[in-house]
């Protein structure tokens, strides 16, 4: 089958000779992929920043597809069902899944205990093949996947597998109270969605900060928020204090993660030398910009190694830090309703549709932010819709 094939940092290709996936467990299904996105966090893999990303891996944790084969223990799905597949692989039985922490499953990743299994996200996240392929194996398929409602556009469905739940949970973890000022660092798809969802919790002001003008313009329009380029404001922390009557924001959301720009020491140590789990610049700004007693919500992805953060300021300011991978299964019923009600319109984020055969161009386009790219969707040749 055709699948994306990682060959090293900044090198990926569409490989026609990848073996078809097989049922390896009674609770597996095989899905024929209809849509697969490139996520901002795929770029961390693409840039070689995630340890244990092996050559020959297929990325892709945001996908939808049609069930073509089911394991012997599958009860909730049948061949022909069209499903959205949460990016987290969750057993539904462990103590953490039973607490609805589906992003923290303890039965899906033998290689690391800190993170549950994730499709196509290196052996640090379980070594699963991802959905940037014609077919993919989906474990625990009775637990995570949800049948796509007939009324739902496939482009909306594919964004419900990660972008919408992660953005929503960023705002949810922030504990936003009516009247709060929310600052979101990062105007990628997740940051834009976090800004959009902040309104749903009663924010009075939402400010998004980035360095890419076209993304800020998009965010301003899509999320109806204030948008600021940190290259034009001097010190972002001083700027935020200034526009919040010197006290700081009630809530800051880090939707950037390990490839943040804006601080050369962090960039050197985190991105080039890999001596910390990425560049923590956005997290620094979030901690230092939030009000005393405020909340910092982290959904930006960092590597597993140590990272430099101003933990003394966290203590002295009495900051609450909340973070997690999105619990997609927990949030899907509510978010499907929000899409049906027109409260959230995910597919507007999609700017580029690229055939899977041109996956190298698609990654470069997204990574280098060419052609005003916000979100790229890969279409496999077998996708009929």
């Amino acid at each position: 089958m055709l699948a994306m094939n990682y060959r090293g940092p900044y090198r990926v290709r569409a490989d026609k000779n990848v073996p078809l996936p097989e049922i390896l467990h009674p609770q597996d299904v095989i899905v024929r992929v209809l849509r697969s996105c490139i996520c901002g966090s795929d770029l961390h893999l693409y840039h070689g920043l995630v340890p244990d990303t092996r050559i020959g891996s297929t990325f892709g944790h945001e996908f939808i597809g049609e069930v073509v084969e089911v394991g012997t223990a599958i009860e909730n799905l049948q061949v022909g069902d069209r499903v959205m597949v949460p990016f987290n692989i969750a057993c539904g039985k462990c103590a953490f899944c039973r607490q609805e922490l589906y992003g923290n499953c303890h039965e899906s990743n033998p290689e690391a205990t800190a993170v549950g299994g994730i499709f196509g996200y290196s052996h640090t996240a379980g070594g699963y093949a991802g959905g940037q392929a014609e077919y993919v194996r989906v474990p625990y398929a009775d637990v995570g996947p949800v049948v796509i409602p007939n009324w739902m556009d496939p482009d909306d469905a594919v964004l419900l597998t990660d972008v919408v739940p992660t953005g929503y949970q960023a705002a949810e973890m922030a504990g936003i109270q009516p009247g709060d000022t929310v600052v979101v660092f990062g105007a990628g798809p997740i940051g834009i969605m976090a800004a959009k969802c902040s309104w749903l919790f009663g924010a009075a002001r939402v400010i998004i900060i980035d360095q890419v003008d076209y993304r800020l313009e998009f965010a301003e329009r899509y999320a109806q928020c204030e948008a600021v380029n940190f290259r034009s404001i001097g010190d972002p922390v001083v700027f935020i204090k200034t526009i919040t009557d010197s006290l700081g924001a009630d809530v800051c959301i880090d939707a950037v993660g390990c490839e943040a720009a804006g601080n050369s020491i962090n960039t050197l140590l985190g991105r080039y030398m890999m001596l910390q789990g990425g560049s923590t610049t956005a997290l620094h700004w979030a901690i230092n910009s939030v009000k005393k007693g405020g909340i910092v919500s982290i959904v930006g992805v960092y590597g597993p190694t140590n990272s430099l953060v101003p933990i003394g300021n966290v203590l002295n300011k009495g900051i609450t830090i909340r973070a997690n991978q999105a619990s997609v299964k927990r949030l899907l019923p509510k978010l499907i309703q929000h899409v049906q009600d027109g409260v959230i319109n995910p597919k507007e984020l999609i700017t580029h549709r690229v055939p899977l055969e041109e996956v190298g161009d698609a990654y470069h386009l997204f990574s280098s932010k060419l052609d005003n790219c916000i979100k790229t969707v890969l279409i496999p040749p077998l996708a009929s819709t």
Partner: protein, 173 residues
């Protein structure tokens, strides 16, 4: 391959605690004081330890490197790209360290880079010459960012030309 022989009973938390003699035990408990709400549906099952009824176990058909922080493989896992070659040897060594150690992660980064070279060698051995320009997505660069493409090409061309010139002039001497 070895099959996991552990059972839930091996991990039941028997430290149930003796606190009935503690004066004031639990008197200030406030269920609303829960910073995990609404993310975690609290049921305190984790206090019972790693003792849940596990899903059926996937058959072990390839080598899987397991974190030393857990006693067994998870019930499912990915089987693509098992460790092999020099990079595989380094990965095996790295997995002797816990997830909190640089000894775990920095060797994995080294293994990834070596694996990249192994990948090139494998391609050539299979008679497949990698199309580096296509893999780098230079088509998109040409389509959407011609100016940068041309300037980068000129710089790369100059560097290659200089190196070639130096090499040739040294050879003549």
């Amino acid at each position: 391959m070895m099959t996991d022989q552990t059972t839930p009973e091996d991990f039941i938390n028997e430290r149930q605690g003796q606190y009935s003699h503690i004066k004031g035990w639990g008197m200030d408990f406030d269920p609303k004081n829960d910073p995990t709400f609404p993310i975690k549906k609290r049921n305190n099952e984790e206090h019972q330890g790693y003792a849940w009824q596990r899903p059926p176990l996937q058959e072990e058909t390839v080598e899987i490197l397991k974190s030393v922080e857990r006693p067994n493989l998870t019930a499912v896992y990915g089987t693509d790209n098992p460790p092999k070659g020099l990079s595989g040897a380094i990965r095996r060594m790295a997995f002797n360290y816990s997830e909190s150690s640089y000894g775990r992660w920095l060797p994995l980064v080294l293994a990834d880079r070596i694996n990249m070279l192994e990948g090139v060698a494998q391609d050539i051995a299979k008679g497949h010459l990698p199309n580096i320009a296509k893999e780098l997505g230079l088509g998109a660069e040409w389509k959407y960012n011609k100016k940068s493409f041309i300037s980068k090409s000129v710089v790369v061309g100059l560097v290659i030309g200089l190196v070639a010139y130096q090499f040739c002039s040294k050879k003549k001497k």
